[in-house]
Structure formats: C-alpha cells, structure tokens
C-alpha cells in the first residue's frame, strides 16, 4: 500500500491536499465535525478557543473572494491569528521561488498554510517541504483539486438529502477544466453514492472520465433525468485556450440550466454551484435564485467545513 502524504502514521489527517485516496472514515469525520460547528451560529459568541495562539497564513497565488474569505472567517471563529497574503502582487513577481516564499513565512512562525495556486501540485510540494508541525490545506491547485469545496458540497448534499446511498447526482458542465468536479467525484464515490453522472459536451469532458466511476451523458435532458441533485460547474472562460466552444450563447442553449431543463430532475432535486456564477451562461437566474437552489447555503456551510478541517489538522502532537 502506498503511503498517503495527507495522513500521519496513526491515520490522522495531517494535510488536506486532495480527496483522492482519502478514506470514507476521514470524510465522515470532517462532515460530522462540521455539523457540530454549525450549532455555534446560534450563540452569542460565535467563536471557540481551539486554535488560540496558532497562526494561519492564507497564501493565495491566484484570485479568490469566496474561498479566501470563508477560510479567514473559519480561522477567526477558531480563535486563530490569520494573515492574508495576495502573493500574485508580492515577492514572486520579484523572482522569489514558491519554496523560498514558504520558508520565509515559516520563519514568521506559521502553523498552517492555506494555499491556492494556478499550478497543479503546488500544495503537495509545500507539504513535502514544511516542518513537521506545519499543516497545509489545498484551497485549489490548477485543474487538479479543490478538496474543501468538494467537502462543503458533500455537507450540503447530506444536509438536504440525508444520506448518499440512494442518491443520483449529476455534475454538469466544464468538467475538463474543473478542480471542483474532480473533488466532487472522488468524494461522492468514496461516500457510497451509487450513481454519479457527468453531463457536458465532449470537448469539455476529460477523455478518461469514466475511469473515475461515473456515467457520461452528452445530452442535458438524459443526464438530468431523475437526479436528486444537480451540481453545476462554472464555465472556465479564463482557462479556455483555443476554441472548444462556439459561443457563450450556444453553450447556454445546450448546457445552461434553465427551469425547463431542471424539470427532468426529481421535483425535489437541489441545485448547487461553487460560484462565481456566470448567469445566462451555465445557469439561468430563475434557477440560481429559485426554490431548488441551495447555492447560498453552500457558502454558509463552507465556513463550518473549513473550521472542521482546520481543527482536525491543528490538534495533537506532530
């Protein structure tokens, strides 16, 4: 058996880099712990003292609003000290390497790095080089992985649907460029979801996608028929090189989630989207703001899920 770099010798979570290869036991523990953090929202003091005295560095080499902000809120609710670094506008533009940047931040007594980077594997690289007491969370690397988004999507699904074992879930859109889709698919299959579908145009689905244990659909109506949840993906305009699509209008016509297309899903199906949404491209406003949309709940749950991950990483001896 290969050693999972995310787990310590005694099987505890040490870094969160990808959901690929994480056992269901760990995923369940994260979701259960997040459930306990949700109840803090009802209190006068929406904070717990777990990470008092710890320094968490949000190191973002790529733009993000939602993810960075919810990581920041999560860390503050755990009583950690948070430092936000927008590295795109910092030393790397002066030529400093990724590992030099991290070494310097480690010298500033960091306990945890939350890393977003345009290159796949950046968080893995950092995790290999930090001191044993430092933990790394991948907040999105290239097209590869966005584990906390995958987890908060699972939390949302479980919140509304109760259990994964009878669910049919469709992941719709630009799977090829989406790190979110990969994390969702790994999580869904690990947690025992019996029917995971990917739905999208051939040009936006990875060639080997079926090897991830999913069923592929190239027609929206077929892919959505009878599903319990529709996980929409953002059309990654900025990642598109060359022309894989005729136009945004054409995409909307075939793949945009409209009330009409949503009718093929179960009447109580929920609609999710990781944001930011391109309204009128992959999703119609009537759906995004409609009764079946749980898109804003995803954002709220994202805080509790990130609190769970941080608190599971930072406790205990290295």
């Amino acid at each position: 058996m290969t050693v999972n770099p995310q787990l310590s010798a005694d099987g505890r979570l040490k870094h969160l880099l990808t959901l690929d290869g994480l056992p269901a036991r760990i995923l369940d523990q994260i979701l259960d712990t997040a459930g306990s953090f949700i109840s803090i929202n009802d209190r006068d003091v929406k904070k717990v003292p777990l990470l008092r005295g710890k320094a968490i560095f949000n190191v973002f080499f790529e733009n993000s609003t939602r993810t960075r902000t919810t990581f920041e809120i999560a860390a503050k609710r755990l009583s950690a000290d948070v430092v936000n670094l927008n590295i795109g506008a910092s030393s790397t533009s002066k030529g400093e390497t990724l590992l030099d940047t991290v070494a310097n931040l480690s010298a500033m007594q960091a306990d945890m790095f939350v890393v977003r980077h345009a290159s796949a594997g950046a968080a893995h690289l950092i995790a290999r080089h930090v001191a044993p007491h430092i933990h790394v969370i991948n907040a999105g690397d290239g097209r590869c992985s966005h584990p906390t988004q995958g987890l908060l999507d699972m939390f949302t699904l479980r919140h509304y649907k109760g259990d994964f074992h009878n669910l049919t879930v469709a992941v719709v859109g630009d799977v090829l460029h989406s790190r979110v889709a990969r994390s969702q698919i790994h999580a869904l299959t690990t947690l025992g979801c019996p029917e995971v579908r990917v739905v999208g145009p051939k040009t936006l689905l990875p060639r080997d996608v079926e090897s991830m244990g999913v069923h592929v659909f190239h027609k929206m109506e077929d892919g959505l028929r009878g599903v319990d949840a529709v996980l929409m993906l953002r059309l990654q305009n900025e990642r598109m090189q060359g022309s894989r699509l005729p136009s945004a209008g054409e995409y909307y016509k075939n793949w945009g989630l409209t009330p009409d297309k949503l009718r093929h899903a179960k009447p109580d199906a929920i609609v999710m989207h990781p944001g930011p949404m391109n309204r009128g491209v992959e999703i119609d406003s009537a759906v995004a703001d409609g009764m079946q949309s749980v898109i804003l709940s995803q954002v709220t749950f994202g805080i509790a899920v990130r609190m769970a991950v941080m608190s599971m990483l930072a406790g205990g001896q290295p």
């Binding site: 306990s36 949700i38 608190s311 599971m312 406790g315 205990g316 001896q317």
Partner: protein
C-alpha cells in the same frame, strides 16, 4: 468490583436536586454519559425544565496533545442562558477538566445567574478546584482505571470500568 446501579444513583440524585429546583432552572447534560443522566433526571424532576446538551470537544485543554476526538456531537442549548440557574450534569467527575471546559462553553451562550454541578459519581483524581453540588456516590479508584457510563441498545445504563490507555 461491585459497581452501583446507575438507576438507583439517578433516583438518589433526583431526590437531592428536586428540593432546590427553581422556576429559572435549566438542565445541561455533558456528552455522552451526562446527556443520558440529564434525560433520566428530566423525566423524574417532571415539569417542563428546559434541557440542553454540550460536547466540550472545542474547549478541551488537551486538544494540543490529543487533537480533536472522533464523533464530536453538536451542542444544543435552545433556551436563553442569561439569568438562568444552570444545572450542569455529568456521569463521573474525575479531574474536573471537562467541567471547566463545559463552564467556559456555557458562558459563550450568555451569562447564567448560577451554574451548579450534579454528578452520579464523584471519584478521586481532581486536578482543578471543582466540586459537585449534588452527587449520588463517592468512589476511590486507582488512577489508571477509567469509569464511565455505558448504555446498551435497549437503553439500559450501566457503569463501565476500563484500564486507561497510555
């Protein structure tokens, strides 16, 4: 070793508490054993006393050594804590560290008028200046032994003695 019956201990505890119950009282059970005791007490004390539960995992002082334990339960306090007399309930009082964590947690919900402590068993081994206001039984045990309340599928409570792992 002959351990006392939890049902009898709960009966004793209920009798001791009943005399002091005021209209502004609320019961808060500490996960997991304390919640079972709280449920049993609430039944015996009657009335409509507000009840809540706390899991102290996010307030424990051994987090840095041991990390977060598996199976953290949500804390639920659905009433206003301000000005209430809170009866905090646990199965076994040992070091006093869980109670310290629970009191800290309560104050993040508001400012209670008073907090009192009720336990089934007060055993030796205290590490903090915390004593129960109500207790059904006192017991001296060797330090490596751990005493806790267990519950089987039929809901029957029993005391369980185990050797503490290092």
């Amino acid at each position: 070793m002959n351990l006392p019956s939890p049902d009898e201990l709960i009966e004793t505890l209920a009798t001791r508490i009943a005399a002091d119950i005021q209209p502004n009282c609320a019961l808060v059970g500490m996960h997991t054993g304390g919640v079972w005791v709280m449920e049993a007490l609430a039944e015996r004390l009657g009335g409509d006393l507000p009840c809540g539960t706390v899991d102290t995992a996010f307030y424990r002082d051994d987090y840095a050594q041991r990390g977060l334990h598996d199976g953290v339960k949500p804390s639920r306090i659905g009433f206003d804590v301000d000005g209430r007399c809170i009866l905090l309930i646990d199965d076994v009082l040992n070091t006093g560290r869980s109670v310290r964590a629970a009191i800290n947690q309560l104050f993040d919900y508001g400012r209670p008028a008073a907090v009192r402590l009720a336990v089934l068993i007060d055993r030796n081994g205290r590490e903090l200046p915390i004593q129960p206001d109500y207790c059904a039984h006192r017991l001296d045990l060797p330090t490596p032994q751990r005493l806790r309340l267990g519950r089987d599928d039929s809901g029957q409570l029993s005391l369980v003695l185990t050797e503490r792992s290092a």
